[in-house]
């Protein structure tokens, strides 16, 4: 990513849509890049070793792409987390052009969630939901009857999502994103009672608290993954899917 010379607008979380639109119009030639994603950039050494991998991505990507990053639109409200807020402060302090946004008020608006319920592979569902924040895609979707559920945020390691069948519905924060309500905790905690669900959180993320609690409450399974999913995590998910 560093070698590309195109000027960039960095984002993380779910930036307030009006502000994102304004910045897109201000920098029409710039490419928008999601700094939450792991592009295998070198460690900046800013954060502790034992810390949320997604936040490390945000910081490490920013430093690796510093020359091209004209602006970062940083989600710092409840739609992201305190780590997003702290990261924004650190990057400002390091000379980045950071615009903080909070997206917590939706005026009663709630969007449908066809991607979460579609027959796309789980990885594609999550990618599409996140891509839609930047630019809405028009894709014809087929709804499936849910056989399994995935609750959580887009993980650092997308590879373990291949274990899930296409009949997996998406819940948690990722569904809140598609619903256009990323800070709606009640929606985030809602799952379909009878669907066997894997409750995922990034290791060291505060959402581990919710994931573990909800897994117990709904007879699901809790997994947390730091960098990449270990064989035992993958085997647990496989076994959960197979034995149910």
């Amino acid at each position: 990513m560093k070698s590309e010379n195109k000027k960039l607008i960095g984002i993380w979380g779910y930036p307030e849509p009006d502000i994102l639109e304004k910045i897109k119009n201000k920098y029409p030639e710039n490419k928008i890049i999601d700094l939450d994603i792991n592009y295998n950039n070198p460690s900046s050494g800013i954060l502790p070793d034992a810390y949320c991998r997604i936040t490390k991505n945000m910081i490490d990507n920013s430093f690796a792409m510093k020359e091209n990053l004209e602006v970062i639109i940083a989600s710092v409200g409840r739609e992201k987390c305190d780590s997003g807020w702290f990261a924004a402060k650190i990057l400002k302090d390091e000379g980045f052009n950071v615009i903080e946004t909070r997206y917590e008020d939706y005026n009663g608006k709630i969007c449908a969630t066809p991607v979460c319920k579609s027959n796309l592979a789980l990885k594609e569902k999550i990618n599409l939901i996140m891509d839609n924040i930047i630019q809405k895609q028009n894709i014809k979707l087929v709804e499936t009857k849910p056989e399994f559920g995935f609750w959580g945020v887009p993980p650092n390691d997308f590879n373990f999502l291949d274990i899930f069948p296409e009949t997996t519905h998406v819940y948690g924060w990722t569904r809140c994103v598609e619903a256009g309500r990323p800070a709606d905790i009640d929606l985030e905690m809602y799952v379909d009672e009878n669907i066997p669900t894997v409750f995922f959180a990034q290791t060291f993320c505060a959402k581990m608290q919710l994931a573990k609690y909800l897994a117990k409450k709904h007879n699901g399974i809790y997994v947390d993954v730091d960098d990449v999913a270990s064989n035992s995590v993958k085997a647990k998910i496989e076994a959960f899917i197979k034995l149910r």
Partner: protein, 254 residues
Amino acid sequence: MTKLYADAGTTWTKILEIYEEEKDIQKSSLLQINNLNNYFVPENGNKYYSREEKLFTGRTFIMPTKIFSFADIKLDGATGHMTGQKLKPEGIYQNEVVSLAYGAQKRVKNLENSTIIDIGSRDVKWVKFENNQYKDLDWNGSCGSATGATIEMLCGFYGVNPENLAPEREKIPVTCGVFAMEKIMDNIASGIPPEIAVARYIHGIAYNAWIFSKKPEKVYLSGGLCRNKCFIESLKLYCEAIPLGRFMLIEGLY
């Protein structure tokens, strides 16, 4: 023709070979292994049943994984993370937790409200059943490292025969393996015999496995620690414990 199934763990590999006639084993690919009979373990007798209750004749072996790894063997079914490229093209790999669950369902006809725990060389995995149906599971694949292999190393280091260890009421916490080692050394430095320090450590592993598996009332135990009386008696301080032997995961393969 014989059929070969293996559960290849970090330290030990368990092998089941099933066949229809005695003459079949004369052509077994296992014969290339030096001193094969030294690894023969008649733990389950020689009668084996598939999940469809079809009867087979078979024989079982337990050998160091490093010996298994170098043998040119092709498997019909495998579990464990050391099976490498040994599967036949039509062979089936099944992960350890699924194998454990299927093995338990096959071996224990009534799994009403019980948990099966497998303690390997470096991990702990368990599956809970309610009314014979899967209910819950977990696999501690990294922080459960203070398990079977560590006991073997400790016994070797201190010259302790694990068969002679008596259970201890006191336990050494093993949540962190490094701190547990420090405690063992502290015990021994303060004049406590190694047999007692190691038994306390084994008690700590039993307690840790029980807590990790969510405090079950009844446990079926799988893995090498089935042969460790000190471990089983320590586990019985917390729950009913029934050892099933070392071939549970293989039982789940066919």
